[in-house]
Symmetry: D3
Subunit: 137 residues, 6 copies
Amino acid sequence: MTTDRYQKGIDKIQELTNSSDDNPTGFMDIGESFKDIAPDLEKYVVEYAFGDIYSRPGISNHQKVLATITALVAQGKPQIAMHVKTGLSVGLRPEEIVGNIMHLLPYVGFPSVLNALNAAKEVFKEEGVTVDTSAVE
Amino acid sequence: MTTDRYQKGIDKIQELTNSSDDNPTGFMDIGESFKDIAPDLEKYVVEYAFGDIYSRPGISNHQKVLATITALVAQGKPQIAMHVKTGLSVGLRPEEIVGNIMHLLPYVGFPSVLNALNAAKEVFKEEGVTVDTSAVE
Amino acid sequence: MTTDRYQKGIDKIQELTNSSDDNPTGFMDIGESFKDIAPDLEKYVVEYAFGDIYSRPGISNHQKVLATITALVAQGKPQIAMHVKTGLSVGLRPEEIVGNIMHLLPYVGFPSVLNALNAAKEVFKEEGVTVDTSAVE
Amino acid sequence: MTTDRYQKGIDKIQELTNSSDDNPTGFMDIGESFKDIAPDLEKYVVEYAFGDIYSRPGISNHQKVLATITALVAQGKPQIAMHVKTGLSVGLRPEEIVGNIMHLLPYVGFPSVLNALNAAKEVFKEEGVTVDTSAVE
Amino acid sequence: MTTDRYQKGIDKIQELTNSSDDNPTGFMDIGESFKDIAPDLEKYVVEYAFGDIYSRPGISNHQKVLATITALVAQGKPQIAMHVKTGLSVGLRPEEIVGNIMHLLPYVGFPSVLNALNAAKEVFKEEGVTVDTSAVE
Amino acid sequence: MTTDRYQKGIDKIQELTNSSDDNPTGFMDIGESFKDIAPDLEKYVVEYAFGDIYSRPGISNHQKVLATITALVAQGKPQIAMHVKTGLSVGLRPEEIVGNIMHLLPYVGFPSVLNALNAAKEVFKEEGVTVDTSAVE
């Protein structure tokens, strides 16, 4: 049975990933690979993370994705790449994503920033995105 | 001797804190209390953190402060309050600051978010700021 | 409007805190102090944390509270005390709570364990609980 | 020279890993690969971690392994898999291991839990263990 | 019953804290305040932390204390002050302690360094120690 | 345009890596792989991390590299290997590097130390370095 919150979450994911109706969750990992060990995980991802929190008013999708990337950089989590991809999908310019990661240098130090830039660089390459670096050369 | 980077950093701090020329660093802690043990710390704060990084083009002051707050929330650092104050100073609406912290729930968990909201609430009270919560009631 | 998940969460909190019907959330901080800045936080605490996750079958309340305490010790969060109190409330013996914290020594190191034991000791004192230490003297 | 604490540690490891007398430390990594650079490390692992701490009375082996897994999830350490294996070895049901990891969602967030479930899933597959998910579907 | 490792640990603590025979553990917190809840903790602190690890050959006491301070700064633990005191006690110059903390700026960021310098400054004040800052002014 | 701080940073890197004038930055990662997305990163690495901080007087290169390694171990960062290599380059004996990592056991726990020793062991192997373990056998 699909709840309203579940549908709201799916709609939000589709909006964030700019996905077709055939595959509304697109490239987003919503925990579907854990069906055999924790089938309810997907529900919490969709209903709570996307239906409740990502759907909360107050800040833009741009800001939501940047906040997510920042938290993952500060924690050193491997999910950075997927959220960089989401950032491009919601229309963040690559300069904004890089600028946000670079801004963290005085707070998280060089190693965390270098790791995050590696993840971003890889996504940009996969997506064929080039960064306009003229302003910081 | 004041370098260009130092002046650029001071200018950026004044812009961020909306401070008078008499006291350009305003409420920002730039490490001046460590003159007796590490007098060069202030130089790194002003020149590197503010002159280099905060002055980097690519993202807005609004986004820079939100990224800073997010990193501090994810790390559980006590400097959250000062940067919430900076957020208000650069013109972030309190709903945006709260919205950004609330967005971190699925990534950092409840305890870190509760601690950050406590810090924000305290600053809002000091600054006489009220939050429009009509959209999330 | 109270949802089923909200009621389920409140019931779980009452079960965990062993509270009266007059004050079912007892000593548990459910985020009610943030009504003026993030009134929806309470909903996420009650519905998601307690209605969904704490109500999930598979492990006992004893184990849920010990897992919570362990996560907070590993992260160095100040909420340890409240969850030690919950531990006593669900019937964990103080020796189990202390034993669980002591077990973390090889994984989180002495400083985190010492800080956690300080929090536990304080709660035991407030609650008039004594620890039977005969087995480890 | 084998001390009493060393033997006690080996006995505890054998109990935890359910290993034969021929290879009492079984699948447990006790630091033996560091003989050429830090030969005393094995002694600390066996004597202190297992002879002292894992042998401490007060909580069951079940709880000790769950506390270990929880601490590793909260810290994002790669040793999760080995301790999930230990969990199965001491008789924890896979539902308890998954249930314990899922319980951490409100405290450590989705990325840490997803990473831990990936590790657990891999171990379950290697060990031919299936999870009864009927209660959470 | 006092073991050899216990005596070795006490000797090391006395050496580190430069304490009298009447009070050999001096200002060092060895967990004696937890006698009522975890009386064996003191044993692990003295035997393992000091008798085994601090007594390990290979690096000097100076380096051991600096490594301890560094780990605590990187983790944001409140025990920094006690180990700064130990640093002075083993003969580290205050410039070395401050220099070591300042060196962490590119790795842990400003907030962690500022918090650590606050702790160090407080200890220097209590101990009547002044820092020669002429080389970095 | 090369600033004095940039040249000072390059000189420090050459000193640390013991590199030839043809390739003064040697094996050190100074962020040059990010030219296409954040070309200014290299400047901050060279000018700030090496020109300012590594060039700060007060502690020796030996201690600077050990402090760096310690911070990375405590944070679980993958850059440990490169800095172990730097340690050998500045003349630290492998016993000192291992001794420093082993000393962290009571503060960061076994998993972080095991991961760090793995990184060190790999570097020692690549560099053909053997550790004199006679004192700790």
